[in-house]
């Protein structure tokens, strides 16, 4: 059993290495290796699930000493407990769908094998985050996820926008990791309180931190600083405000990659980190409040930007941001189970949405929803599965999203009424923008020009190949039934802290009304053509500008980058050139040169002046000796 987490983790890495070393030229071999590796992981995760049931679930922990120096023992270890099992099932399950889908989507790509190598690396890194048993291991994989996302987002690196997006994702995450690393170091010190040997092991810390707090060894304020620093890492990976900027741009990657990054991996990592270190956040109430507010704000903020977006993938990206905000808010309000529950269900239906969007893009060759239209008829599998996922995202009974979203809203209702309102409003906005997306892209008449359609690729729009539609159909299963699979029960009592709130009928009814209202409104406007009057539209433009410009946040960052960071660099560059090199080094050389010029004058070559010097010297020595004798 001890080998289980190791196989689970390393199978995709082996696949990646094998592709790089042996299968770079062969598409089928690389496909088989990548999918095979992930299947092995998936089976291992299932195997672990079998043993996780019952009263006393088995927790597997296995580690080896990675660095062993006097005063610093760092282990590389894995922990397979219930949250880890659940997450690895999600990662490998959704990952598998994405891998299979990619065989169809990327079929014609010239770097097909590189794509699968990167995907496998990505899956490995993400599983590492899920399974790590201590902060340092987790940080290692945290960085590897950053790097592999860099490779995948910038996969079409010849496209300048893709190369820039990959870079942006990596850098934004790096800034976040600066805080995260400080948090790790702070915790490392905290763990040594009371004469304990310092550690970064999660299990060990989960014991110690509550003990320290209750024993009065540490104030909750100090702990909140550590928690806030760790939360910095979450801001980056889970793209919470103000570090959300990389995520919409990350749509430059191939669509299956977006599905992977936005559903089951990477962005989920941040939320998972809070859950993994919940013992810390729970004992740090100030930090927890901050987490809740940032989550709530991001949820509303991102949903508002989705309202006016026309790129199908970007709408989904903003939706991801918004839903992540939900999860973060839930965790911040104490809803540990609710947060992870939503993370799980969201992974399925968001993957389905992205893969469906990819299927539509594959057919239409555009990301613009206004260039689609009527796809439900032309691509029934894509259309109907997309509809199901949309309804799940909006939280329509009895789909999976309904249950998890409702649990979050119930927690919010219980804990903080303002955030409950924010959550409900976000639910309404979500329903509206998804309704808008679906009405424009899938209902109505096709907007693809007829001549394009007939002369276009393979004669018109048609359903995608089986490799792409089968994953779509498979993903509908958890999308529909996710609410009945017992996720919340599975997670009970798996962490220190967290509150549990019973199902609340009022909340459920209100959120359902809001969701249906939002969908209906969007349907009326975009499908039935019930446009508001021209005057009202004009007023709305005023409102829409900040939304389309994404509240100018990118502009602010660009300004800071160009005017503060880059100008600083240029200034120091000039300082180096003119002060250090010019004044300091070359100045020294000048002085030497000038001294040489001056001293050269003494070497006149005339015997008389030399004799004169000799006499002066002699007189000086004589005087000095004379004085000394006196």
């Amino acid at each position: 059993m001890v080998a289980l987490p190791w196989i689970l983790l390393f199978a995709p890495l082996l696949a990646c290495v094998a592709i790089v070393l042996g299968a770079r030229k062969s598409k089928p071999a690389s496909t088989a290796l990548a999918i095979g590796g992930l299947v092995v992981s998936f089976v291992c995760a299932l195997q672990a699930l079998m043993h996780a049931g019952g009263e006393h679930p088995q927790i597997i922990q296995s580690s080896l000493n990675w660095i062993n120096l006097p005063g610093l023992l760092l282990e590389f270890g894995l922990l397979l407990d219930k949250p880890a099992i659940l997450m690895s099932l999600v990662v490998t399950g959704v990952g598998l769908m994405v891998f299979i889908y990619s065989t169809g989507y990327m079929k014609e790509d010239r770097s097909y094998t590189r794509y699968f190598a990167c995907l496998s690396l990505f899956a490995f890194s993400m599983l590492g985050i899920v399974l790590s048993n201590n902060f340092v291991s987790l940080f290692i994989f945290w960085e590897l996820v950053g790097a592999s996302s860099y490779l995948l987002i910038g996969y079409w690196y010849e496209k300048p926008s893709a190369a820039a997006a990959g870079k942006k994702a990596f850098l934004v995450n790096r800034i976040a990791d600066f805080g995260f690393l400080l948090g790790i170091l702070t915790l490392w010190n905290i763990s040594g309180l009371g004469g304990h040997e310092k550690t970064l092991n999660f299990v060990e810390l989960a014991h110690r931190i509550p003990e320290f707090v209750h024993g009065g060894l540490i104030s909750s304020a100090t702990l909140s600083v550590a928690a806030a620093l760790v939360f910095c890492g979450v801001l980056g990976k889970s793209a919470q405000f103000p570090l959300h900027v990389w995520l919409p741009d990350a749509m430059e990657g191939p669509t299956p990659v977006s599905a992977l990054i936005h559903a089951a991996t990477m962005v989920a990592a941040g939320v998972y980190l809070i859950a993994r270190t919940y013992f810390l956040f729970w004992e740090a109430p100030q930090a927890l409040i901050m987490v809740a507010w940032i989550g709530g704000f991001t949820a509303l903020f991102a949903a508002s930007m989705a309202l006016v977006e026309n790129d199908i993938k970007r709408i989904l990206a903003f939706s991801t941001l918004s839903q992540l905000g939900y999860m973060v808010m839930a965790l911040g309000l104490g809803g540990y189970t609710a947060g992870i529950y939503h993370l799980t269900t969201h992974a399925f239906f968001k993957a389905l949405l992205f893969l469906g969007a990819g299927s539509a893009i594959h057919a239409v060759h555009s990301n613009d929803i206004w260039k689609m239209g009527g796809l439900l008829k032309k691509m029934p599998i894509t259309g109907w599965t997309f509809l199901l996922a949309t309804l799940a995202l909006c939280g329509i009974f009895p789909l999976s999203g309904f249950w998890s979203k409702d649990e979050i809203l119930a927690v919010a209702f219980h804990q903080n009424k303002i955030l409950y309102l924010v959550g409900t409003l976000t639910a309404g906005l979500t329903a509206f923008y998804m309704g808008r997306l679906f009405s424009i892209a899938f209902l109505g008449e096709s907007r693809v020009h007829h001549h394009e359609e007939s002369h276009g690729h393979h004669g018109g729009i048609h359903e995608s190949p089986w490799a792409m539609t089968i994953p779509l159909m498979l993903l509908t299963i958890p999308t529909i039934f996710g609410g009945f699979m017992g996720f919340p029960e599975f997670l009970h009592h798996t962490t220190h802290g967290g509150i549990h709130v019973e199902f609340n009928m009022t909340v459920a009814i209100i959120s359902s009304i809001v969701a249906i209202g939002g969908l209906a409104l969007a349907f009326m406007i975009y499908s039935k053509g019930m446009q508001p009057s021209a005057a009202a539209q004009k007023k709305l433009t005023w409102l829409a500008t900040p939304l389309t410009r994404k509240y100018w946040i990118d502009e602010i960052y660009r300004y800071l980058n160009q005017n503060v960071q880059q100008q600083g660099a240029v200034f120091l560059g000039l300082f180096e050139k003119y002060v250090i090199m010019g004044l300091f080094a070359n100045g020294m050389a000048k002085i030497t040169g000038v001294t040489g010029l001056v001293l050269r004058r003494i070497q006149t070559g005339r015997v008389q002046s030399y004799a004169f010097m000799v006499w002066i010297g002699f007189a000086a020595i004589f005087l000095w000796v004379f004085r000394w004798v006196q």
Binding site: I67, L69, G71, L72, A147, F170, Q566, L572, G573
Partner: protein, 492 residues
């Protein structure tokens, strides 16, 4: 009658013998020249691997000692040997010099003379790491500096005359400062010995007066600090990197710069512990200047070799910070980073050299989209850039992590700034990668050739070293850590 030569002497003398042999090769036999150079650097590599593999971790201390009495009246002996730190640095050196010889196969101009100087340089550097006698230490140190002058001046590019002049003057000035310091230590100790092992023990029992140590320490610190390179004495270094031919840049940034920090650790800190106690907090501040200043100046560079050059001086700041911590984790981190950074820079300069030889420009913006045209070399450069940015899986990450842990409780503000340094590194490295390798291919470079199978060998050797140590750092840390207690015993 056998030659009484142990492995360490063989390691040091092999390239020198190679250089002498090369002098006898008739002009124009470039193939012979290359093969001789390869053979006489392969031998040290094998010896270094042997020494690392067979280093007795339980025993620790200096191993493979050889001693020949030379001028007994002055206490000068030829003495060489390796401890856990120098054995790792010797491995770094032989990896960089062997791969440097392979990379230099592209050199077409005055091949024989090039290799003669190159082998002399290699022998000198190896001698510094192996010497356990101050006299020979200094001798080899100077021997390493001198061949740089013709190597950059003749085979270099762009501002090569200015660069080589500046480099030689800086390094010589530093060496003179250090020499003053060394002489004072020798005279003040009263031990009548240049023997480093003996001096260490002698000075531990009869330490120099604290006041004197505090006065002498800066001579050694700044004297050796020039080559480290310590801010603000660094400006020779990026220029030197940039103007040197690729293999010399590899050795220069990869190994030569480490001589400075090695000498500070081995001589200044070990012989003048009280001086170190006094000055090291200042070094922690200088280190931050190195890291952040170097990082920001690197951002402003347009020439890719200058970017890497300033990056090197930035990363040497981490080494200085690690040394300044004066605790086991810090010293281990510093030595491991010397190794990691050396390999990583060698990799980067090899790749840059491959491209420069064909494009004849080093302005990053003039490259563009090379990843499609020359995937292998581009990938390797990107990996080096990633390693430099502190990506896990490469040795740089482990060593920087160790330095963060070590400095966090000693110099909190320096640690903060150092951790921020990884953000700046990522900024300029990713920008360089993006500009040079991504985006559409600049049509000018449609004829560029990727590395042939033979040319791939040096890259793969370096990459393997970087990743093996990165994934399993204990492979080297267990050896390095045998040497640190001895040094720290002095500092207590």
């Amino acid at each position: 009658m056998g030659i009484p030569m142990g492995p360490v002497s063989a390691l040091v003398l092999s390239p020198i013998i190679g250089a002498i042999l090369l002098m006898m090769v008739p002009q124009g036999r470039d193939k012979w020249v290359r093969w001789i150079a390869t053979a006489f650097t392969a031998v040290p590599l094998l010896i270094a691997l042997h020494c690392v593999y067979h280093y007795d971790k339980v025993l620790g201390g200096y191993q493979c000692l050889e001693k020949i009495s030379w001028i007994p009246t002055l206490g000068i002996n030829y003495q060489v040997g390796l401890d856990g730190i120098s054995v790792v640095l010797v491995l770094l050196h032989s990896l960089c010099s062997f791969t440097g010889v392979l990379v230099s196969y592209r050199v077409q101009k005055r091949v024989k003379e090039y290799y003669i100087f190159y082998l002399l340089l290699i022998g000198g550097v190896a001698g510094v790491f192996a010497s356990l006698d101050l006299f020979f230490f200094y001798l080899f140190y100077e021997m390493a500096v001198i061949p740089m002058f013709p190597l950059i001046g003749i085979w270099g590019s762009k501002d090569k005359e200015y660069a080589t002049m500046k480099l030689t003057l800086y390094l010589t000035a530093g060496a003179v400062l250090a020499l003053i310091g060394l002489s004072i230590v020798y005279l003040a100790s009263g031990a009548q010995s240049f023997d480093l092992i003996f001096l260490e023990r002698y000075l531990m029992q009869n330490p120099l007066p604290t006041q004197l140590q505090v006065w002498v320490f800066p001579f050694l610190l700044f004297g050796f600090g020039v080559i480290a390179p310590m801010w603000p004495l660094h400006s020779w270094s990026p220029l030197g990197h940039a103007s040197a031919p690729s293999a010399v840049s590899m050795l220069h940034a990869g190994v030569l710069m480490k001589l400075g920090s090695y000498a500070i650790l081995r001589i200044a800190m070990q012989l003048l512990p009280a001086g170190a106690q006094f000055w090291m907090p200042w070094v922690a501040i200088i280190a931050i200047m190195n890291i952040l200043y170097g990082g920001f100046v690197a951002m402003a560079q347009k020439d890719i070799k200058f970017t890497i050059g300033y990056s090197s001086s930035s990363h040497m700041g981490y080494v200085l910070l690690g040394l300044a911590c004066m605790n086991p984790v810090g010293l281990n981190g510093a030595v491991l980073l010397m190794f990691a950074h050396g390999i990583m820079t060698a990799l980067a300069f090899a790749a840059i050299g491959h491209i420069y030889d064909q494009t004849h420009t080093r302005i990053t913006a003039e490259w563009g989209g090379l990843a499609r045209q020359i995937p292998f070399v581009s990938t390797l450069f990107i990996m080096a850039a990633m390693a430099s940015s502190g990506l896990p899986g490469f040795a740089n990450f482990v060593s920087e992590l160790l330095i963060f842990f070590a400095s966090w409780n000693v110099y909190r503000w320096s640690a903060l700034a150092a951790i921020f340094g990884i953000v700046t590194t990522a900024f300029y490295m990713l920008r360089t990668v993006r500009t040079a390798f991504f985006g559409p291919l600049n049509p000018k470079w449609a004829e560029l050739k990727d590395a042939t199978n033979f040319e791939k060998i040096p890259y793969l050797i370096l990459l393997a070293a970087l990743m093996i140590v990165g994934i399993w750092p204990r492979s080297l840390l267990e050896i390095i850590s045998t040497a640190t207690p001895n040094i720290l015993a002095h500092l207590k």
